[in-house]
């Protein structure tokens, strides 16, 4: 036991003397989390993201103004940045990708609404953008349905009003207005009854959403960071543990192992010490990552002891996995060929790169076979105040099985 402790201490000291590589790999997940969080934070986006829409108003009348006002209502006012341009400039700008979309309102738009004549709006989309032009298109469709619905309601009145527009104000008889008002009154009364309060609204829910979600505090960007960092942390922990386990081959190649085995250290103790030091150093680094996440990104991990237990379990699985790999590798080149691809495939399938529920169904079937998946699920449970017993037991069992399986093979690999 004392010899194992000595080797572990030596490994720690050596790493502390030259920590640059490990420090970079520790810092990357934090940096990536910060960038991902800022980009995908819905709270931030609603404040900052604005969709530039160019509008060509060939109608210059009441109908066009109503349509454009739909884009400026309350929360939409921040979402859309409307700019009225002439047609030539608008088409030139959209062809240069300077806006998300160009909305062209035809010359007779208002007249068409008054006369119940079909009319066409044009939405020219920026071809290089994937989502925002679609938002403008859908919003325009909804605004068109609203305008058409209003037109349907007031069809007779609009048709009756249209001839009045061509006459001067003095030519219009009071009785003509009175007739219009008589016709409008019941509809406006009905409208008031269906709009205040809204007669039929929509209550949208996620299948998994819980009722208490309504009582939760307002959006906090640290929640986004807490969703991203576990995936990033486990990805880079795999690289870090792999580097630690690679030392078995490095020390064999540079003669350190031969010198060590001249001393009264049996190969089994050497192997056990290397696995232990990889596990311990991994736990220190994971703890450091989590602490930095708390300090720099204000992440609330929940019960930190639970987190460390989960971290210990996942590191046991990773140490066992890479111990088994290194039991078969003859040199570092061979290791590089296998381990990095395995790490990246695990990361992609396990939810480190993309949330598992957004993966194509075919890929999703493999997620549960990755340590990434269980670590990410485990941290989510801890944040929700639960102890992730399934994830911990499963990862510990995998770690134990793989370590036990790899020990005799690794001993044979390092024995002189």
């Amino acid at each position: 036991m004392n010899r194992i402790r000595l080797i572990v201490t030596r490994d720690f000291r050596r790493r502390l003397r030259s920590p640059a590589g490990i420090l970079i790999l520790t810092a990357i997940p934090l940096l990536m989390t910060a960038i991902f969080g800022i980009v995908f934070s819905p709270g931030e986006k609603s404040r900052q993201l604005s969709i530039r829409v160019l509008v060509v108003d060939n109608d210059r009348n009441f109908g066009a103004r109503m349509l454009m006002q739909a884009f400026s209502q309350e929360r939409f006012a921040e979402m859309f940045r409307m700019e009225t341009v002439n047609e030539e400039d608008g088409r030139r700008e959209i062809a240069r990708g300077k806006a998300s979309a160009l909305l062209v309102i035809p010359k007779d738009f208002t007249a068409a609404l008054f006369l119940s004549r079909p009319v066409q709006l044009e939405v020219v989309k920026n071809p290089s953008e994937q989502f925002l032009p679609g938002v403008v298109e859908e919003f325009t469709r909804t605004a068109a349905v609203l305008a058409a619905a209003a037109q349907a309601v007031f069809r007779e009145e609009l048709a009756a009003m249209r001839p009045l527009w061509d006459r001067s104000f003095n030519e219009i008889e009071t009785t003509e207005f009175a007739n219009l008002l008589d016709s409008l009154r019941p509809k406006i009364n009905r409208l008031r009854r269906v709009l205040d309060p809204l007669l039929v609204g929509l209550d949208t829910q996620d299948e998994t959403s819980k009722p208490e979600a309504e009582n939760q505090p307002a959006f906090d960007i640290s929640e986004i960071f807490a969703l991203i960092l576990p995936g990033m942390a486990i990805l880079f922990m795999m690289f870090i543990v792999e580097i630690f386990m690679r030392e078995i081959l490095s020390e064999k190649e540079d003669g350190t192992l031969r010198r060590l085995l001249f001393s009264p250290i049996p190969p089994i103790q050497y192997v056990a010490a290397k696995i232990t030091s990889a596990w311990l150093m991994g736990l220190v680094i994971l703890g450091l990552m989590a602490a930095m996440g708390s300090v720099v990104l204000a992440i609330r991990w929940g019960n930190f002891f639970y987190f460390l237990v989960l971290g210990g379990a996942v590191l046991a699985a990773l140490c066992g996995l890479f111990a088994l790999f290194y039991a078969f590798f003859r040199n570092r080149n061979q290791a590089g060929v296998i381990t990095s691809p395995v790490i990246l495939v695990f990361a992609a399938l396990g939810g480190s790169m993309i949330p598992v529920n957004q993966l194509p169904a075919g890929f999703r079937a493999f997620s549960r076979f990755t340590p990434n998946y269980w670590f990410i699920q485990g941290t989510a449970l801890i944040r929700a105040g639960e102890f992730p017993v399934t994830a911990i037991l499963l990862l510990l069992a995998v770690g134990l099985v793989l370590t036990v399986a790899s020990l005799p093979l690794l001993v044979r690999r390092v024995s002189p």
């Binding site: 939405v123 989309k125 829910q205």
Partner: protein, 371 residues
Amino acid sequence: MKISWLIARIDLKRMTRDKAFFFWSLAFPVFLILIFGNLYRGGNSNPKAEIVVVNRDQGRWGDFLVAALDNPDLVIQKVQEKPDKFTRVLEIPADFSQRIQNFQAQKLRFTKNADASLEAATRVETRIIQALVRLIAGVVLQPESGPAQPGNRPIEELITIKTGFPPGTITTIPSGFDHVIPGILVHTLMILILIYGGITVMMDRQSGILTRIISGPVSRAELWGGKFLGRLLTGLLQAVMLVGLGLLFFKLNLGDPPLSFLIVILFSAAMASLSIFLGSVFRKEEVIIGLAILFANLFAALGGCWWPIEVVPPVIRAVGMAVPAWWAMDAFHQVIFFHKGLETLILHYVVLLAYTALFSFLAIRYFRIRQ
């Protein structure tokens, strides 16, 4: 030049002999293309969104709403009871018509499966809102005696929307792969060139290969040129493989191929210089790998390789212009989606050349032959 070419060829041969080379240059990018290409699938690749409508209504307004929901975009499955498994479901309660007749406010429950497509869910939700607008118009128009039928002219036909792209640009909606492949190409070019290029420079220096080469009739400039060319060729080889695969299997639209390929050449040149700089300055493999991953991921995130740059906050978008990946990605967009020519791309080429010059200056300044 002949010697530089020889050194470059030997370097390229060494890299391609490495068993991991084809994983990094081909298998891994294709894996990412499949994942991200499906994730950011274009609107035309999956035009129909499913919705289950549970219509328990005892009156006629439930049917009116279902009819108003009818749309070529949607596949509507009408059932009497809520199924256990669904992607999204709209529930119309039994007293729906009764409450409408009594002008009592109500909310319909629309439940989405969180695992299903977010884009499709948003589309369905928009269609439901549009159907509710039609329904409310119908209620206002109804005679006092009972529910109304849809008017003579369905209201959606009065105002139609014509959509399209600017003349002279693309004519069909680009697939997710058209957006994703350039991003993955730029990202994996960075990973491959920076990691392989950096580590091999460092290993050649540490193992004395550089000393042995320079002790022959080879100048320092020829040696540096050979190393630069070797890394450039590595990038080009990867680009040829990925683009070829994209053309064969994903119907990749490259715009003007020579202009697109010039972007790859200039971007690879910038990364080749940066990789020699990293390999010259740092002594440990894990430091070079760490920095290469850091630079590649940072440049990819800021340059718009991982997500559409339009969804990125304006501040990050502005910062992104400081990284070479942004210029490469924007150049790809100009060629592929806007069909722009040399007159537009000249700025992008000059900026990428400037990055190559800057990184080459650093790489030459710090290029070390001996440990």
